[in-house]
Amino acid sequence: MSADALAAAHPQDPSVSVLEVRDLTVATGGHTLLEDVTFSLGPGERVGLIGESGSGKSLTALAVMGLLPEGLTAGGTVQLRGVETDLLRIGERERSGLRGRRLGMVFQEPMTALNPLMRVGHQVAEVLRIHGTVDDREDATRRAQQLLADVELPDPVRIARRYPHQLSGGQRQRVMLAMALANGPDVLICDEPTTALDVTVQAQMLQLIAAGVADRTSGLLFISHDLPVVATVCERLLVLYGGRIVEAGPTHQLLTRPRHPYTEGLLAASDLEAVDDQGRLPTIPGAVPPDGRFPSGCVFRNRCPRGDEACTVWPGWTGREDHGVACWYPSGAPHG
């Protein structure tokens, strides 16, 4: 395939993004759910996509994976390194050749993502065999056991013979990760992978994800509503609100010098140790509007302390693609 030839031409070149998403827009009927989402992912780079429920995080992941539910249409471009055609425009057959091989994904709920009737070892081996990574059946079984051992499942030979319902939530999520990493994908997308897990299990899972993408120099898109989790895993963050990226930047800078009022509010509300002298937490007034009913212009303006007339028009992006903000009144001095 020409795609593979191209990928081989510049393998692991850090200057070439593994994934380029430009002006991604998802709409249903009259509603626009996601608008002009633009970001790129370098090899080995860990990027966090943060936002509250209804902000469009999962839609972004599904659009990139080509898994949007019926009735939703995607616009813009999604470019995977070495694949000439835009992922939004290639046929389902070609796309399924990429999913599970070049694009891996871990969902929030492993019980719905795993096949309940198939032993988990078999499910991991299937990913290897379907994409022709391993031809021989026994080899695939052995590789699957190795992959299960890599995600630190105790006694992988025994675990491989179990069905999903016989495993705990944390173990199932590890199986999902083993499957997603099986073919050494260029891009790993994790959508709230630890939200349903206990904190000690979460810590192990985060460590496995970080180690897994480091070993394979895969680009990681880590989606979560939990700011401390994302900040621990990722080096760069994208803040999504109302289907728009409102701010982007390196983790440390974004957290210490947020510029968008929403990022500021989110940060303040996440930090339970920062309270005023009455012991009260800072809050963002109001709530995320239900499905797509965000105001026109700046999507945050109805909850924003700085919102005024100017905000009835979308402010547009200022700064670089990987470090900038979309706001008429951003905090701090403009960065250059």
């Binding site: 206990d198 904190v199 810590a203 509503h225 401390p228 509010g265 012991g279 709530a287």
Partner: protein
Amino acid sequence: MWPAGTRAGHRMAEPEVIYDVRDLVCRFRQPRTSLRHRSPSLTAVDRVDLQVTAGQRFGLVGESGSGKSTLLRCLAALQQPTSGSVRFRGQELVGRRDRQLRFLRGDVQVVFQDPMASLDPRMRVRELIAEPLVAQRAPGSHERVDELLDAVGLPRGSASRYPHQFSGGQRQRIAIARALAVRPSVLLADEPVSALDVSVRAQILNLLQDLVERFDLTLVFVSHDLAVVRHVCDTVAVMRTGQLVERGSAEAIASEPQHPYTQALVAAVPTLRRALDGATPSTLLRDVPSDTASESLVRRDPPEPS
């Protein structure tokens, strides 16, 4: 942590004991797995001793399956324990019939995690909030409902709407208003902010703080999130496999945990501060003793002889 309530200051040295739990055991039978053996059992709460005094904000922390919700249900007398004693203001709750628990229902109210599951979707907000008053044979007036809506920060017009017309945070406000309707002195909260978005979580935590202070409530707050418990509570007990492994002031538990399990729990929580100091996922794990992070936290009893 919230500032100490004014109430404690006025009181004499010995605050009233609200809950006195002794040697509480709660065991459940599980579905049988074999025809030859008896069905296995699971000990959700295992010999727990516990005291909650008036005005206290008592936090119960633990991971899933640790038995914290079962313990809370025992406090609310929604669950009959296998053995042991739960005294509420000196009165034994264990072994009482529902009919004999009316005094408790008027004084103790519960807020659950998922308001969509705990609020009847076919009742209007007015009926939802007034229902506990009717059950207490003190039918609610419109004014009382309006008063409660004001207290939880919802517009009075909400009274004629249905739960599905509200956002998650607003629904939790309705659940809180309903709990406060009978003017309880004790509020039991089971993961009340776990299903909420971060920005809304802060609103509900502030609301709970206001109400606890304003109505002099004693609060028992169950959560898996140590950071939330530390913010809300003054006293914290840590639960694991049905047992209390450590208890102390919220400050001490968070900053100097003594029990290895608590230490692991504290170490494994990602925080913004630590992330800014350069913490990575491996930092979170460094202090977790490997046996502590085992995944089967639910204690299964050894099989009984058939």
